[in-house]
């Protein structure tokens, strides 16, 4: 009966906790840094860089960092014996839309200490550039490339920052941004034509094209003149 669901009408009235009518990106509730040892240590050591701390989904600790110091703080998180976040689980980005800053999200896990931590850096939409952490974790190589491809964030000092999921000649922009329409910017006919006109040279890095003097990629220039017939080989 209606009893086991409570009064169903009340539940409908309750609705979600926060409506999106405010302009700030949503953040979690009251946070107790003391519950997570890394957060306390981080806040103690990097007082200026650790901007904010919150707890999401009950027990997931998130620390907001100043984007300029992400590499320093993440290096400490990886190397300090009390923290030892040696596994970089994920690097991603969140675009809230409406002109709000883009959040770069690092998900970390410490294999020896069995702890998780989430680090976020907020970037303004006109300054989407942050230091790459590939030197710290090689796992970040492809993960950052994907964020570059889909969001347009430039990772400084990344060894190979190219598109990874979209074709190299993709000209419609960065798909996961909120101002990018679901079906893309061009018409389907245009997308088909562009897809079929992908130049294979785009698929290779410049170093690869140099391999072996790049013999097979371009047909050799043949003499066209009929007057100058050389000696038979």
């Amino acid at each position: 009966m209606a009893d086991e669901n409570g009064s169903a009408f009340d539940a409908v009235e309750q609705g979600p906790e926060a409506s999106g009518r405010n302009t700030e990106a949503p953040h979690g509730g009251a946070s107790d840094p003391a519950e997570h040892p890394s957060v306390t240590a981080l806040q103690g050591r990097f007082d200026s860089a650790a901007l904010r701390h919150e707890v999401q989904a009950g027990d997931q600790h998130v620390v907001f960092l100043d984007p300029g110091s992400n590499r320093t703080v993440l290096a400490w998180l990886r190397d300090d014996p009390e923290q030892r976040y040696d596994l970089l689980v994920d690097v991603t980005a969140v675009d809230y839309g409406g002109g709000r800053p883009l959040q770069i999200v690092y998900q970390l896990w410490s294999v020896p200490h069995k702890r998780a931590l989430r680090i976020k850096c907020e970037l303004p939409l006109d300054g989407l550039s942050i230091d790459s952490v590939v030197q710290l974790w090689n796992a970040a190589n492809w993960l950052e490339r994907e964020v570059y491809d889909l969001f347009g964030v430039e990772f400084r000092d990344h060894p190979d920052l190219r598109r990874i999921l979209m074709p190299q000649n993709y000209a419609e922009g960065h798909p996961l941004r909120k101002d990018f329409p679901l079906r893309g910017r061009f018409s389907r006919a245009e997308q088909t034509r562009r897809a079929l006109s992908q130049d294979y040279h785009d698929d290779y890095t410049p170093e690869e094209l140099e391999v072996g003097g790049a013999p097979g990629l371009a047909p050799p220039e043949l003499p066209i003149s009929t007057d100058e017939v050389g000696d038979a080989p």
Binding site: T23, G97, M166, K178, P181, G184, R185, R188, T192, Q198
Partner: protein, 239 residues
């Protein structure tokens, strides 16, 4: 076959064949021109029987449908009993292109190239909803049906279609082959060399084939709570 004395070695065009047929009268004798006769239907019968019972599929499997295609080839459903056990991964030796799975725009030139590399006679099966029309993925990266890129003979709907569905589709190809005739352009597909590597159809047809329909027409609403900047250019707005 069907060449009259000393007419040169170029194959006759369909119009020329028709003209010859009409000049000779509708009976045409044993070697008819432009319409099947006793001898040509017997040759057709044998050739088509051989072709349809020894099709070598080219499995262009990308996603979930590819797994169902593998299941069709495995012991429970067994494509081998149709003569299709030899999955030819080289397009040069394949007869039927089974495009199983979704094809994004990045993969489109690869599909087109594989199709172009296949030798005549060749057929194409579009397996699954994604290959036939884009499926659930009416997005920026997905080809909305491979018939915008390659000519398709049979569409097998499903997401993914059961192996029985794929087998039914392949049997339809076999039926199609059974009804072919060598007198019609030698039983080969009309192909225009200038279309190699290009879309299969012009812009209007591609737009018509790839237009949004059904649920896709409502897929422009983000979370009602999210404030986003609406696309400014008029061409980015949905119709």
């Amino acid at each position: 076959m069907g060449m009259s004395d000393g007419e040169g070695t170029d194959p006759l065009s369909l119009a020329e064949i028709e003209a010859l047929g009409q000049a000779e009268g509708r009976q045409g004798g044993l070697l008819g021109f432009g319409h099947p006769t006793f001898l040509t239907t017997k040759v057709d019968f044998v050739v088509n029987w051989a072709r349809r019972n020894s099709l070598w599929p080219m499995p262009f499997g990308t996603a979930c449908c590819a797994i169902e295609m593998m299941a069709s080839a495995a012991s429970n459903f067994d494509l081998a009993r149709f003569g299709m056990e030899r999955m030819s991964f080289s397009p040069r030796q394949a007869d039927v292109l089974i495009c199983a799975g979704r094809v994004p725009y990045k993969l489109a030139p690869v599909l087109r190239r594989i199709w172009d590399q296949m030798m005549q006679p060749k057929w194409c099966v579009s397996m699954g909803a994604c290959a036939s029309s884009g499926g659930v993925f009416d997005t920026y990266s997905m080809v909305q049906g491979i018939d915008t890129i390659v000519p398709v003979d049979v569409y097998v709907p499903g997401c993914p279609p059961r192996p029985e569905g794929l087998i039914y589709g392949l049997m339809m190809i076999q039926e199609k082959i059974r009804q072919e005739s060598l007198t019609e352009h030698y039983g080969l597909r009309e192909e225009n060399p200038s279309l190699v590597g290009r879309p299969r159809a012009g812009d209007e047809e591609v737009e018509a084939l790839a237009g949004p329909f059904g649920n896709s027409t409502q897929q422009d609403h983000l979370s009602s709570a999210a404030q986003t900047t609406r696309p400014e250019r008029s061409e980015d707005l949905l119709p």
